[in-house]
Assembly symmetry: C2
Homo-oligomer: 177 residues x 2
DNA sequence: TAAGTTTGTTTCAAAGTTGAACCAAGCCGT
DNA sequence: ACGGCTTGGTTCAACTTTGAAACAAACTTA
């Protein structure tokens, strides 16, 4: 079958998207690196832990919400652990699992870093688009993400609710990425 | 001044965006790595050269359109050169500049790889959003990108039109990223 | 319960990225 | 023509990411 090339509109959108996403990530990484001494992903690890019940999360669950590989997360947590911002803990119910726990120092760093980060995200993104566009963006991205993750883990049966699989309870969450 | 945290809508949009962009890039990188033996960025280098007049571009110009650092581009081109897909050439007008030139082999690889790539972009993105959303996406991304690049090079005087700075002439361009 | 499978995590080497430092070559004013 | 500034590109070490392989602890089933 002959390739369905992109229409001119699609091409423009695609190029704009590539450009925007690269520029945005770069800018955020730079800001966070300068003011927090860590790349965006590492910040997200802290932020997600901070929003989790008891400030701890299983490696796999964290990797899944962050949409990264387990291997990548292992590296990040190892580094954050070396810096004392996170600590590893063994899961009591499943000896295979390990939990990443946000330390007090990690919390402090996060609290010190969050305002600048949010400021940046605002300045670069939300201050530049209308509320209507915020909705559109969410809508678009949600759809894309759904298509991309569901592919293998099927929208099938809900995960059994064993204690160590409990999903995060509502929290403040103003810093999470 | 107290931080202006993200509203719930903004948070949802931000998270959705992060998730979608990570998943999307990963999927595209995987596809291209498998079927083309190179990451997305390297493909984009080939695609952009292919669309350039005479299939060649100054390193700086290429880096600028790709929104990456010169250093990163140097690495990519070095690798592509090793693989014979790109060749470096000295600029006749400015001895500092070097041009990246797409070789015949590079063209061949690109032509062989492009359909699969476009297919993927379609399947993961454009087949999942409405034409209206394509427009919205372009609009949003264009705005963000504008804000992010203009910051230092000011929207000021247009670059002088010396021969080796000539901007690309219209081409087919159905594969460019 | 032993064998086989799946799940959770880490390890390791190869690949790619970052940012600062460096070297030329052009540009400008004197 | 000389010094100083800017521009184009590369280099290098430190860091991060990738993906396959290795382990170990559950789970399943005969």
């Amino acid at each position: 079958m002959t390739t369905r090339w992109l229409t001119p509109e699609e091409q423009r959108a695609w190029r704009a998207y590539i450009a925007a996403s690269r520029l945005l990530e770069d800018a955020i990484d730079r800001q966070l690196q300068q003011e927090g001494g860590m790349p965006h992903l590492f910040y997200s690890v802290l932020a997600n832990l901070s929003d989790a019940p008891d400030r701890r999360l299983r490696m796999t669950d964290l990797a899944e919400t962050l949409k990264i590989t387990r291997s990548r997360l292992t590296y990040a947590v190892t580094r954050l652990e070396r810096d004392g911002l996170v600590r590893r803990e063994n899961c009591r119910w499943d000896k295979r699992s390990s939990l990443a726990v946000l330390t007090d120092e990690g919390t402090a760093v996060l609290e010190r870093t969050a305002p600048g980060h949010v400021e940046t995200v605002r300045a670069l993104l939300f201050d530049r688009i209308t509320p209507e566009q915020v909705r559109q963006l969410e809508e678009i991205c949600t759809g894309i993400a759904r298509g991309l993750q569901g592919e293998d883990d099927g929208a099938g049966a809900a995960t059994e609710d064993v204690p160590w699989r409990r999903r995060s309870t509502p929290c403040q969450g103003s810093t999470a990425d």
